[in-house]
Symmetry: C2
Subunit: 710 residues, 2 copies
């Protein structure tokens, strides 16, 4: 378990102004050497507007400015101290800074927790000293901090100012995102490099964005969620949209993330569950992050997934509609009255369904685009509008068209404000003056239609649900409850059954049998047909350890001899065979995530579990109401609510059982995996037909006692 | 059936040089009015290098040049004639042109087949006249033609020259793609706007690319495949990579495409089957098209899906690895010897697994990137390399780094040529001088990592397969065999069964029963347990029209009375109930596509058919070998080859039955849908448990007799 239980609980709302709005800035290790961080940060700080002091242990001037030998030599008040000296000198520099009254330390220096246990101890020692003096520590192994509003500039490269806060575990990604945001006319209100999070961590930085007036949206890049549940709580409380880019769902990205941060990357399913619980938008690439931020920064956001498409060419219209469908959006047909209104602005051969194809109407009168947009968004029949095609380039044909095009761009901005519904524009001319007006009026402009549709799909709640179901990684979510790791210790079916049954999970009547005598007793007590299970191995059916449909004592005895002869199990379980006809098989599983705690997986079970990968994830424990909502979001929800003449299944009973399973797991942190599969649900109720438990191996349990992050 | 059987079979290899390399160009309808096609095309033609003549019926000069009143007034030889006059004047203009010896006509004018039957007749009449004179007709309702090599320029906007041929049903998309290709340093060898394809059509244009020396890659945008099988044959024969962007898998894009081209858009599944059969790469957006063309235009293409990632930052490395996984690529761990070799070029703390994270090594010596790239691609352990991060921007720090960076870009070009394996670069600086060198050396440069990974995923054969399985539209493929249209006429189960059984498809023993007397006879002849099916409705199980597991004559009589009482069916079928235990249920379906003919769907069947949407599509008829290959590509292939202790199923028997089903469908074009579901496959063979047929309704059959495209 990697949750650091030794870590002192941070006060929920520490004031981070000492970090983002310091009375002065000091750079320790400031340098003239252009290959050093001490040079980059000093130059950045000079470009900022805060009072600045440079410290160099051996030189009197740096970058042409007076340099002090020590922080204690500085005459004025000391606020934020950035430390860019080698790791072995950091502790002394921190002491020096604290003695001089520093309220915040930004430790750029690497060579701490990311290098191993010794570095981790050193890092913890420094963090304690800072915390005990009532100051804040960002880092170590971090790449700086930036605040546009306070004029704080402590990053290796200049960043554009704007209204997006970016909290990132990667420095280079902040430069990349800065470029992508600048293309959208956006920039950063604030940037903090997370580093090793020895003191100030992601949840605390996230919380601080709540009260930061110049931040409208928060973007996060994170590989290591030290305490995932605190992240969830902070994201839920921040009161502003949060978009998360995280890596680690692939083995390769986990490999690099491990080498990068010295920590295990949480499994993708746990991150998905956390995002669902926190209402965080999740993206998979930096480009997608920038596009979604552009849509979120607009004055209006879509309330649903109904998209109108307006185009000046059939090809753009058809491709945009195709992409909208792939992103989980609907492109609904328009009502007859709306089609008539729209058609009134257009030539007779224009397409007035949805997409609306103005078909040459724009060349005749560009203002038709604004009129149609107004009709579409004012109608209540759609939630957003995508304008796709040549718009933005008509002005190249002459001054009249150029003036008209700029006027239409302004009118589109008015339409957004009047209707409260967003417009997004795909254009071949994203750098022209029209695009500039659109961005200034809060209309995001995209070079590619797919950028707009993917982003709008992420924003529309129902579309998000659809796309989560269609996430192109069927194996991932299932992997969360998949094969146990080689170090895990599995228990037998009977023990799992006993634990769950004690909590109230219903199973068919069964008895543990060992030898023919007990087999006969059990056969007399239990109603045929029976199931005989060899107990012990986790995947009984993989080794032919389950014999079903046994109807009399001869069949039973033969099956018993076969199992014992082939598998030599510790024991066997004889169970009444449930009537599965007309029922559906579910899976209810819980996996202990090292960062997010118990994560529940609910979905279609049985032999199709892996193949369907039709599961929903959530943070355990769950209550039945939450389980029912998850079941309703399954792709195969129709299988549960009655299709093809089958009756309605007792989903309330199933939800209650699944909630019980998640509670058991949450109460037993030593259980790393707990699974009921299949859970049979029929019109008459729910019944667990198999169960398994994986517990933490003893070695790991001892490590947990050490409370060290491994 | 929309395949135009009246259309004369085009000679397989007409010489299209008269269209792309004419002795002279004539623009009929040339105009000084800047809002007219006659103005745009005349200006474009002036910019080209072919001998040019302008024709205007009323003016002596146009655009400051001599204009003729008629084509017949032109003194020199007449080659290609572009016609930009209103629809009602086109026939006369064509006659005039042919009389003057024109070898090719490009009919820009709209108002023909896309407007309805009258326009279609007019269009066909013109096409006949052109064809009878031995000339070629492009259009009508098309947007021009361009050939970089021959200096032919007849499009509304200038297009960049390069080595990509683009055959498009949309004019605006060509402008958009031109911009996207120009960003990659690419352009068009040739462009043809398809228009209504009254004479020269997509397959013919595609074939002509085979012998076009300056074309390396062919891009196609098409909504209307007049004769899909000819497209497949042409794409297979062209001998160069073909990339298809098509729209129409969503209802909305079908709506606009219908209004745009006056033709039904083929269902997405049929297009997928055609692409698989022809080896065509399929994309869903214009941006993806441009990115894939950039990868295809490079001197080396990947042979597999093993991707190495090289980065100068952990964040970029982790995100690229995540994206690679989402695109179906593998990012394999490197062997110990290769890691040692790579590590020899890098600082001690660099990540030498895959991704390789140089971790500051680039700042110390940029050449390490080329050395590592050479080791990685020369190792044989990977098929391609993605360099991701800051590369391309180091030069901003000073002249030494700038020179080193350009040298590294050149060295990367050498590595590609030496190893025969491709490099792709993601950079924050896609417009800088380093990016220019990379592109010049055949290394595609991307602003966004996802552009590179999606493209590489499309190129790697195994990755394509993976992603096809994970296509985020589970309902689409199934829709191909989904609910019949309201106008279709379904036949009863017994008829379907008789047709298929006569062809050799095995069914359980069964008898048609009507009344208790025949029921008793059947019960005596057939082994219990029985299944009783009410015959008639297509979805018997939806209405409770199937009673299973009937064991004696009492149960049977009661079930019969129930079905007859509730449903009053035309008849009932009594059938021996198959033992499904240990078996798997498949679906084998064929749908007549109006453009591609019979399209076969093979996959996991039974109640999970729609939910799993785990199907493969192919062009029918199929032979058993093809069916086996399709089954092996199913996500759930493991269910068929024996999992969880189940024995091996007789897939050869299943493949033979499925091949029979596709043959029956191919031999009966009047059957619009034919489906066996479930097809039970066990260790002992394959058995059809249900079947249905939908035939063309009489009205449509009559329309087919008219041989009109509807």
């Amino acid at each position: 378990m990697s949750i650091d239980t030794n870590r002192p609980a941070s006060p929920a709302d520490r004031d981070l102004r000492a970090l983002f709005d310091p009375v002065s800035v000091v750079v320790v290790g400031a340098s003239d050497d252009e290959r050093k961080w001490g040079n980059w940060l000093a130059r950045a700080a000079i470009s900022g507007s805060r009072p600045l002091h440079l410290v160099n242990h051996t030189r009197d001037t740096v970058l042409g400015r007076l340099a002090y030998r020590s922080v204690s030599d500085i005459p004025g008040p000391v606020g934020l101290v950035a430390i860019c000296v080698p790791a072995r000198q950091v502790a002394a520099a921190v002491d020096d800074a604290l003695a001089a009254g520093a309220r915040a330390i930004v430790a750029i220096s690497a060579g701490f927790g990311e290098t191993g246990p010794a570095g981790r101890r050193l890092e913890r020692d420094i963090a304690d000293r800072v915390r005990n003096s009532g100051a804040l520590l960002l880092g170590p192994n971090c790449l700086g901090v930036f605040d546009a509003g306070s004029g704080l500039s402590l990053t290796s490269n200049p960043l554009p100012a704007g209204r997006v806060a970016f909290l990132s575990q990667s420095g280079n990604l902040s430069l990349d995102l800065a470029g992508l945001l600048a293309e959208h006319g956006l920039g950063f209100s604030r940037f903090a490099s997370l580093g090793n999070q020895a003191d100030v961590d992601l949840p605390e930085l996230l919380r601080a964005c709540a009260g930061h007036d110049t931040t409208d949206v928060v973007a996060v890049y994170c590989e290591q969620f030290t305490d995932g549940r605190r992240f969830v709580a902070a994201a839920r409380d921040v009161g502003k949209p949060v978009v998360l880019l995280s890596a680690g769902s692939s083995a390769a990205s986990a490999r690099v993330a491990a080498s990068h941060t010295g920590s295990m990357v949480p499994a993708s399913a746990a991150v998905a569950a956390a995002c669902a619980a926190a209402g965080v938008h999740r993206v998979h690439s930096l480009g997608e992050l920038a596009d979604l931020l552009a849509l979120l920064a607009a004055p209006a956001r879509p309330d649903g997934r109904r998209l109108a498409i307006l185009s000046d060419g059939g090809g753009h219209a058809a491709v945009a509609a195709e992409l909208a469908g792939l992103s989980g959006l609907d492109v609904p047909a328009l009502s007859a009255p709306l089609r008539a209104r729209v058609g009134g602005h257009l030539p007779g051969h224009a397409g007035t369904s949805n997409p609306v194809d103005v078909a040459g109407g724009a060349e005749q009168d560009l203002h038709c685009l604004a009129r149609v947009a107004d009709d579409l968004l004012g109608s209540g029949e759609v939630d957003a509008l995508l304008l796709s095609g040549y718009f933005g380039g008509y002005g190249e044909y002459g001054p009249d068209l150029a003036a008209a095009e700029l006027a239409v761009a302004e009118r589109l901005g008015d339409v957004v404000l009047r209707t409260g519904r967003p417009v997004a524009v795909q254009t071949m001319f994203p750098w022209g003056p029209v695009a500039g007006v659109l961005r200034a009026r809060g209309i995001p402009v995209f070079r590619r239609a797919e950028s707009a549709t993917v982003g709008l799909g992420r924003l529309a709640p129902e579309a998000r649900r659809r796309c989560a179901a269609a996430d192109p990684r069927p194996a991932q979510a299932t992997a969360a409850t998949g094969a146990p790791s080689t170090t895990a210790a599995g228990t037998d079916y009977w023990s799992a059954r006993q634990l769950l049954a004690a909590a109230g999970v219903p199973f068919p009547a069964a008895m543990l049998v060992d030898g023919h005598a007990r087999l006969n007793i059990a056969a007399a007590a239990l109603r045929p047909p029976w199931v005989l299970k060899a107990d012990g191995p986790l995947h009984k059916s993989d080794v032919g350890g389950v014999r079903m449909g046994l109807r009399d004592s001869d069949e039973l005895a033969a099956a018993y001899d076969d199992l014992v002869g082939r598998l030599a199990p510790a024991g066997c379980v004889l169970e009444e065979m449930a009537d599965v006809s007309g029922g559906a098989e579910l899976i209810a599983g819980v996996r202990q995530d090292p960062h997010f705690g118990p994560v529940a997986v609910v979905g279609i079970g049985g032999v199709y579990t892996e193949l369907l990968a039709d599961v929903q994830v959530g943070l355990a424990p769950l209550v039945p109401r939450q389980v029912l909502a998850m079941l309703s979001r399954l792709r195969g929800a129709a299988l549960l609510t009655g299709v093809r003449g089958r009756g309605r299944l007792d989903l309330d009973a199933a939800a209650q059982v699944i909630a019980l399973v998640t509670e058991v797991a949450a109460q037993h942190p030593e259980i790393t995996e707990l699974e009921v599969n299949p859970l049979l649900v029929t019109a008459a109720g729910a019944l667990a037909l198999d169960a398994r438990i994986v517990t933490r191996p003893p070695a790991t349990t001892q490590q947990t006692g050490d409370a060290d992050i491994e």
